[in-house]
């Protein structure tokens, strides 16, 4: 059986999506595959590729306990949808009314998760402090971020491995 990392539902081996929450289980399987020891040297099979493929998941926890997982490796646009453009995080679908169309961007940079306000009307706050527009700010696991009237706690489990520092390599081995 497979266990859904998102909701804990048990699925048969070979399931591609969780039947309870829609989570793409195949991504998890592919990720595990990339880290599987190769029979030749005992190192992860895709160690060289891993820097690009290992993506730590970014999850937003809303005040009501709901969580939203950001897909892919970013950058992610936070905003309101328009006729032609769909943000990665649709604030309107989450009930926010005062988030700008292009409100803020979340992205991985130099091994850290950064947030940048894109000159929004009603501002972006991190742990209660308003950000200067267009100035990236590094986030830490568990930070509370507010985009106008949408608030969420940002959770990310592992440090990003785009340019791993020695300490991160130690953690991995």
């Amino acid at each position: 059986m497979l266990k859904c990392p998102y909701c804990g539902h048990q699925e048969w081996v070979g399931a591609l999506f969780c039947q309870q929450c829609g989570y793409p289980l195949w991504e998890e399987v592919a990720r595990a595959e990339a880290q599987r020891p190769s029979p030749v040297n005992g190192k992860p099979a895709a160690a060289s590729r891993r820097r690009k493929t290992a993506i730590s998941r970014v999850t937003l926890r809303l005040p009501d306990g709901h969580t939203v997982t950001l897909q892919g490796s970013g950058p992610w646009l936070v905003g309101r949808p328009t006729a032609t453009h769909q943000p990665d995080l649709d604030a309107q679908a989450l009930g926010a009314r005062h988030v700008s169309r292009q409100h803020a961007r979340l992205e991985w940079r130099r091994g850290g998760l950064y947030i940048v306000d894109l000159g929004s009307t009603n501002g972006t706050w991190v742990n209660g402090r308003r950000l200067t527009p267009h100035e990236p700010k590094r986030l830490h696991d568990g930070d509370w971020v507010r985009w106008a009237d949408l608030e969420a706690q940002v959770l990310f489990d592992a440090p990003h491995t785009q340019t791993p520092s020695p300490s991160q390599e130690d953690l991995a081995s």
Binding site: M1, C7, E11, W12, V13, G14, A15, L16, F17, C18, Q19, Q20, C21, G22, P24, W26, V29, A30, E33, R36, A45, H66, V68, T69, Q71, P81, Q86, D90, Q92, A93
Partner: protein, 518 residues
Amino acid sequence: MSAFDFSQQVNYYEVLGVSRNATPEEIRAAYREAVRRWHPDLNPAPEAHEYFLLVRQAYEVLSNPKKRQAYDRTLEQSSETSEMGGTAPVERVRAPQVRVRVSYSLIPPLEEPQLWYAFLIIRAPWAPPRQPRPLNLWLLIDRSSSMRNGGKLALVKEMVAEVVRLLRPTDRLGMIAFDDRPAVLLQPTPVHKRAIFLHALSQVRPQGGTEIARALSVVESVGGRSRGPHLVWIFTDGRTYGDEARALHLARQWARQGVICDAFGLGEDWNEAFLDRLTGLTGGSTHFISGLSMVKTLFPDLIRRYHHARVRQLNFTFDLSPGVKLRALYRMGPEVAHLGVEPPVALGVVGPQERWLALAEFELPPLYRLEDGARWTVLDGTLEFLPFRGRPYTEPLRLEVHVGQGPRSVPPKVVRHAVERLTWYRLQLASRAAWRDGRLHEAQQYLSHLAQSLNRRGLGRMARRVQQQALDLERFQRLEPEAEKDLEFGTRMLMLPADVYEARQRGQRGSATRSPSK
């Protein structure tokens, strides 16, 4: 599969629509007529260009006495080799392209069962639409008393008018009105006198309940070996009670005769699960009609496909290896349908330049006993293309996996895409089932997960609708029938190829403002 060879396919006399002993004048007149009809500047159909070239080619040969004589000789030769005894010429169905993509081609030998997916893509052989095929279409019109509400009968009349408008003079249309008892309004009649259909329909007065099986059994002169498709279209707003088994039995019989049944539901109270099974058994599909503009995008697609269908029906017979179960078979193009899983399965028809798409979900048994590297057959089957004349053409289809320990590949994108859509469809089914069981919180959870998944894929509009229904469920502790239909058909449409989905969306949106069901 061999390359396409024109000369094997088409008969120049048929292209121009003239007889073998036509005079040069007749040929010239027919050519002029064909040019007017098929010139790409005058005919926007995508196949017009290719057909136009064919028309010119035919004229070049038939207008030249020497070339014509030589061509006649080749026709005589080929008819000697291909005629199968009958007087009707055999229609050759060129080998179609069948492609299969699977979730995993290497399966680990586990002591537990596994899920496995296969996505089937069938491209019909390119078929020049010489003449549209004459359709034999029965309309079964629900006149139960509930049709009086919300202008539904008025919408049905508009739907019939649209059908009549789209049909050609050579098509035949019959109409049956049904409630508890069916009444034939009109025996199948050529459609050149359009007014009589609308007149017959004006006699319909809503009364009684909905009983489908009786109406189905009245449909006469169905099947047989006529030159065009046999279709039964059901327009209904209600639920049939107690006669489901009989109706399904009839549907199975029809499927064997190549009759295709489609259903069109109006309003919120009709039973889509039943109609889905009924139509699915015949290779047809079930549609939710939200308003007239929906009809105007859907009907032309359907009728065009049937007019130009290369085969009467595509059948799929197969054996499954011991322990294998075919859990579900969903057609995802050209129309979404929940097909049967008991062979023979009627797959429906596919129009020219369309792809037939379906997702099959299998349960595989524990495979730990097999040795590493073994090839193992999941399904061994045959696709049967039932032509309008001549013998069926068959194509073997075998689904195999390799069993062994090895790196798990990433499933192909088409498979991921299809399974994701099926998962969405099932999330809303699960939500509705949970709601019906009184598990309100669970029902809501399914919907918010669905909304999130839709959002992740950039389907914000649909996500917002689903999110709203989750909120309503919380607030009012119930799912309105309207919301259920929206969830069911909203997620179902997402299974269609992107371009078809876009076109249908526009049709739906257009009808939202003038929906009669209020």
